[in-house]
């Protein structure tokens, strides 16, 4: 019977798309971290190979924290599904044993929970095989890292945390409480680890980490780069002890659950479950009277009211969504754990958490989650009416065609801006916790909320555009993700690095305490504006093809688009010419007035330089024996003089 329940659980989950979605999310995250420098998961890899066994095992350790909220969904449902789906009365009156039921469900869900973890291996294997990575950044594949990652981190951590989550769900029969429990587990973990940091005994600290991350870093502290490139850690030494301790804790929790769990309904719980319809008697005796007479108006004013009301509805629908909250929690956890890098320069050097450093951390560890929100929720929001089957009612309502498109785009953008604000707050809190008080709110605003905010709007528009044009939710997701990856890596490979071509790209905005934004802000904003104009072009084309009604074929939609175009012609040409003109202006500035050298070209120039001047290598050179400086600084001007006197020996 145990095996039967276990198999049933496995079959149940293998049909659920969420398992594969989580797998994909993890794979993408690790893919990003393995194939680019701008995405970090856990600590920075440094000069170790990106596919070193040490790195892979470490990914598994970090991901057991991030995947905790994912597996909560599985364990929670395995334990409490019968209560939420109301099958408990059918199921629990069959002659199954408590032991078979509990452990069958538990181990079934645990086995399924390993699937999302495998995204780590897949993401790393694919990510490090990408052609744009330098050969020196990767080494041969060591399967031991993958194997140990799963055996030493994924499974034991699942058994420990999973037992706690499963126990909460099975004993309280409440689906929300176990989510709260897993969040509590995460927060408690982060706080306790900060406290343990101060413990003198390294070994004790290593034992007190239930997820084994500290243990791993203590045990591998003296590993050289070469060790890290070739070795991973199995069940040995400190790690073995730690794993045994915390798996036993998990086991104890399961034993406790076994004794406390009961098939019988809790008294009084059925009363609460009564739905609203029971509370409502059939229609009152009232007979129908003539309807109130109203006079609908269709002015610009009402269009704006319609837009605002629709934005409000869309924004709330995203913010109330459980999946959204889960993604954001991942993001916040990753951001908070990365915040320690704002004060660390590596090699034991600490620095002040100045605002531009903190902003770098936010961009590095939080923005990937914002991009995930953009990816996931543009699809969800564009398909919202059709997914909830209210489209027939909606599409026949007398609003103009632009209202849904604009409201959805703006709503998503507002959500992203809100999240950026949350990132800023986490950053400011970190600064204050370190006792650092020189907080530059204007830098937060300009860099994150303003410049990055516009940039996200361009990507939201692009994703909305894809979803409208392909008119298939999953194809839309796929295309957008594929585009993002291609956009990041294909242009450099083709030796095209123009910010006018790589979607959403713009020059770097460097802030320094002395120079502030210096001359960079103007160019940055100009390019963001260029992409904003282009995304408007995309939105107008999207508006032409916006589906209203049940017509699916591209041909019919094109016909309708042509119909709409007669009205939208001036708007379309305005944004198109605006974009082209502004692009020409930027082209003139960046390519004609200034020289533009791609990195490959630069490399070529360097090698030619070397070839040309190599012959002078052994010619005696002047050597500096003393320097006498006369330095005048003009912070408002970018003019510097460097006068230097040299003596020839």
């Amino acid at each position: 019977m145990f095996l039967h329940i276990l198999k049933f659980e496995l079959r149940y989950w293998l049909r659920q798309p969420i398992v594969y979605i989580f797998f994909l999310i993890n794979a993408l995250l690790i893919f990003g971290a393995s194939s680019s420098e701008s995405i970090t998961v856990g600590q920075r890899v440094g000069n170790v190979h990106k596919n070193a066994p040490y790195v892979v095992e470490n990914f598994y350790a970090v991901m057991s924290l991030i995947a905790l909220l994912m597996v909560t969904a599985f364990l929670n449902s395995a334990a409490a599904r019968d209560f939420s789906e109301k099958t408990s009365q059918i199921f629990f009156t069959t002659p199954i044993k408590k032991r078979d039921f509990l452990f069958g469900r538990f181990f079934g869900a645990i086995i399924i929970s390993i699937i999302p973890f495998l995204g780590v291996s897949v993401g790393n294997l694919i990510g490090t095989a990408m052609p744009w990575l330098d050969d020196e950044l990767t080494g041969p594949t060591f399967w031991s890292g993958h194997f140990h990652g799963i055996m030493v981190f994924a499974i034991p951590n699942l058994l420990f945390a999973g037992a706690i989550i499963f126990s909460i769900a099975a004993l309280t029969r409440n689906t929300i409480l176990s989510f709260v429990g897993s969040i509590g587990l995460l927060v408690g973990y982060i706080i306790s680890q900060n406290m343990i940091r101060d413990i003198d005994s390294e070994v004790l600290g290593a034992m007190l980490d239930p997820f084994g991350m500290r243990t791993f870093s203590v045990a591998t502290k003296y590993w050289t780069v070469d060790d890290r490139n070739t070795m991973s850690m199995g069940f040995e030494g400190l790690l073995l002890m730690n794993r045994l301790i915390w798996m036993s804790v998990g086991l104890l929790v399961m034993v406790f659950t076994y004794y406390r769990f009961s098939f019988s309904e809790k008294a009084g719980s059925s009363k609460k479950a009564a739905k609203v319809d029971a509370a409502l008697p059939l229609s009152s005796a009232r007979t129908w009277e003539p309807l109130l007479s109203v006079q609908p108006t269709f002015s610009t004013g009402i269009s704006i009211r319609q837009l605002l009301s629709q934005i409000r509805l869309e924004t709330i629908s995203i913010l109330k969504n459980t999946a959204f909250l889960v993604i954001m929690l991942f993001g916040a956890v990753n951001l908070i754990s990365s915040m320690s890098f704002a004060t660390s320069q590596g090699y034991g050097i600490t620095a002040f958490p100045v605002t531009y450093q903190v902003i770098d951390v936010i961009e590095g560890s939080f923005f990937i989650f914002l991009l995930a929100v953009v990816t996931f929720y543009t699809g969800s929001i564009v398909w919202k009416e059709r997914d909830s089957k209210v489209n027939d009612i909606y599409d026949a309502l007398p609003y103009s065609d632009w209202i849904p498109l604009m409201s959805k785009t703006i709503a998503l953008w507002l959500v992203i801006e809100t999240l950026i604000l949350v990132g800023c707050l986490i950053g400011i809190t970190t600064q204050l916790l370190h006792g650092f008080e020189d907080i530059r709110l204007n830098v937060y605003f300009v860099k994150l909320i303003f410049v990055n905010g516009i940039n996200f709007l361009a990507f939201i528009s692009l994703s909305v555009f894809f979803h409208i044009m392909v008119n298939n939710k999953y194809l839309g997701y796929f295309l957008f993700i594929a585009f993002i990856i291609a956009n990041n890596f294909v242009w450099p490979a083709l030796d095209v690095e123009s910010n006018l071509i790589q979607y959403g790209s713009s020059p770097e905005l460097i802030y320094s305490d002395m120079n502030a934004f210096g001359p960079f802000l103007k160019g940055k904003v100009a390019f963001e504006f260029y992409w904003l104009l282009f995304s408007l072009v995309l939105l107008v084309v999207g508006l032409l093809y916006w589906q209203r009604g049940r017509e699916l074929s591209f041909k019919v939609r094109t016909k309708m688009a042509a119909q709409r175009f007669t009205k939208l012609r001036p708007v379309f040409y305005t944004v198109l010419f605006g974009w082209v003109l502004f692009g020409a202006f930027l082209f003139y500035n960046s390519k004609v007035l200034n020289t533009y050298v791609t990195s490959k070209k630069m490399e070529k120039l360097q090698s030619e330089y070397e070839k040309q001047y190599k012959k002078y290598e052994d010619v005696p050179q002047p050597r500096i024996v003393a320097i006498e400086y006369a330095i005048d600084l003009f912070p408002r001007k970018t003019i510097g003089c460097f006068i230097c006197a040299m003596d020839k020996e």
Partner: protein
């Protein structure tokens, strides 16, 4: 119905409402339309009031919105649950919500597709009373599988089978056309298949546990057959089975 409600393009043909070319100027039709689709969902996490209020804005109702929304919620008896999320509504409550949104904003053209599914008999009567009352001033297009409703409610009807219009005209004319041509006979269960092969059977229904066969025939089909006072169901089956096509207007 979807095509009239601006949701689908026709393969060919045109739709005119007065001077309004529906296929060209969809927005103008939507401004006067109240539409209740056969199947529809709701946003599970939005409350009935918020949703109806939002739809009212989309229907161009601004100043009188509060009064109208509250009035409609009371009429469809969702007032007590107006703050509850739509996701918790039963089928009947959802249907009532659908009716409320269709009636919002004084529509001049009301299209209701199977509107009474999930309503209890009392509510169905009240809703039909309302529809026939509204129908005195505005156009109501109703589809239903409950054939007798048509006689009570409609001045014009059409029978559509697999996309083809088999009859269109008034219910009275339709009844007159088959009057005296419908006959019934009680037949033992095992003989029904054979009987159907030899007679123009339009329908078989159970009466007190025994099959009662209705037959279409201009003259009495033989002994044991009694004439029937034809109802619209007989009209319906006569057309569906293809025994009568003469009244088709095109």
């Amino acid at each position: 119905m979807r095509t009239i409600a601006t949701l689908q393009e026709p393969d060919s043909g045109s739709i005119l409402l007065g001077d309004l070319d529906v296929l060209k100027d969809k927005l103008e039709l939507r401004k006067i339309l109240g539409y209740l689709p056969q199947e529809f969902g709701v946003y599970p996490k939005v409350s009935a009031y918020d949703m109806l209020d939002h739809i009212a804005i989309l229907k161009g109702i601004d100043k009188q919105r509060k009064v109208v929304v509250e009035d409609l919620l009371k009429r469809v008896n969702l007032w007590d649950v107006r703050k509850k999320a739509l996701g918790g509504f039963s089928g009947g409550m959802k249907q009532r919500f659908g009716i409320a949104q269709a009636l919002l904003g004084d529509p001049k053209l009301i299209i209701v597709d199977e509107p009474t599914a999930g309503l209890d008999p009392g509510e169905r009567n009240r809703f039909y009373n309302l529809l026939s009352e509204i129908g005195e001033q505005v156009i109501v297009i109703l589809s239903t599988h409950i054939v007798e409703d048509v006689k009570e409610l409609c001045s014009q009807m059409a029978i559509i089978d697999k996309g083809r219009v088999l009859y269109s005209g008034s219910p009275e004319n339709a009844l007159q056309a088959v009057e005296g041509k419908i006959w019934k006979k009680q037949v033992p269960k095992q003989e029904v298949p054979e009987f159907s092969d030899t007679h123009p059977v339009i329908s078989t229904r159970m009466v007190a546990g025994k099959p009662m066969v209705h037959v279409f025939s201009n003259t009495s089909p033989g002994s044991g057959f009694d004439p029937v006072q034809a109802d619209l169901e007989d009209v319906f089956f006569t057309h569906i089975k293809g025994f009568q096509t003469s009244t088709l207007l095109s």
